[in-house]
């Protein structure tokens, strides 16, 4: 069985960005840079559909080779 780890790795990257954005968002909120806070919130929200699309695209990768076995 051959596996594709592209999805796993890119989703890990998305999650890492999520964590970074969240941290910066909270810091910028307490530094009272509210516009920057809003930008990070938009980034965090945009990352969710991106993650979902990556999942949709990648979930069946490797299945063909599985079927041929």
């Amino acid at each position: 069985m051959k596996r594709s780890y592209v999805g796993v790795i890119s989703l890990c990257l998305v999650l890492f960005l999520d964590i970074v954005f969240m941290q910066l968002l909270i810091h910028q909120y307490f530094f009272e840079n509210y516009l920057v806070t809003l930008i990070f919130m938009a980034g965090n929200i945009l990352l969710f559909p991106i993650a979902f699309l990556i999942y949709k695209k990648e979930k069946d990768k490797g299945a063909e080779s599985h079927a041929k076995k």
Binding site: V8, F48, I50, A63
Partner: protein, 174 residues
């Protein structure tokens, strides 16, 4: 679903299909990716309240100006004396201090420790909370001694037509 029987495994179209009873505790690649997408969703939802608060701040809802309130006539408050008043509501007691001829400071005088009233002690030129001997700097409202750790909220005052008016409450700054 044509083709369902032609593919093995067939295209997944529900959320329970990938549970393998004999192996249900092992996390496969697809399940792991699903978890990551779920985590991304949690992050997206969790950033909403912060953004809402930030938007609220940007629209200036928290820094609103209360209707100006006359505290006292200038001639009735000698230099070095203080006066208690209430601002912005009847339940927020505050103290106005005339430091110099033309310098007035005012603070909401609920101690930031346990909300005892803070008094102006003229002889020591300090604001003192009698409950636990907390002291505050009169120039800035910053705590200088005792248990309180946060400054008193400052009330911005304005002198107009020989009277002192309370204008608004300064935001708490960390």
């Amino acid at each position: 679903m044509a083709g369902r029987n032609n593919n093995n495994p067939f295209d997944q179209d529900n959320y329970t299909h990938n549970i393998d009873r004999n192996n249900e505790r092992s996390l496969d690649r697809r399940g792991f990716m699903k978890t990551l997408v779920g985590a991304a969703g949690v992050f997206a939802v969790a950033s909403l309240p912060w953004g809402t608060l930030a938007a609220k701040e940007l629209m200036g809802l928290s820094d609103k100006e209360y209707p100006h309130k006359k505290i006292v006539d200038v001639k009735n408050l000698p230099v070095g004396e203080s006066l208690e008043f209430h601002f912005p509501s009847e339940h927020d007691s505050a103290v106005l201090i005339r430091l110099e001829e033309n310098k007035y400071v005012a603070y909401q005088n609920a101690c930031t420790h346990l909300r005892c009233p803070v008094y102006w002690v003229k002889e020591e030129r300090e604001m003192v909370c009698p409950c636990h001997h907390g002291k505050f700097d009169v120039q800035t409202g910053a705590p200088t001694a005792g248990p309180p750790r946060r400054p008193l909220p400052e009330v911005i005052v304005e002198v107009k037509d020989e009277a002192v008016y309370a204008v608004r409450v300064k935001r708490y700054e960390a």
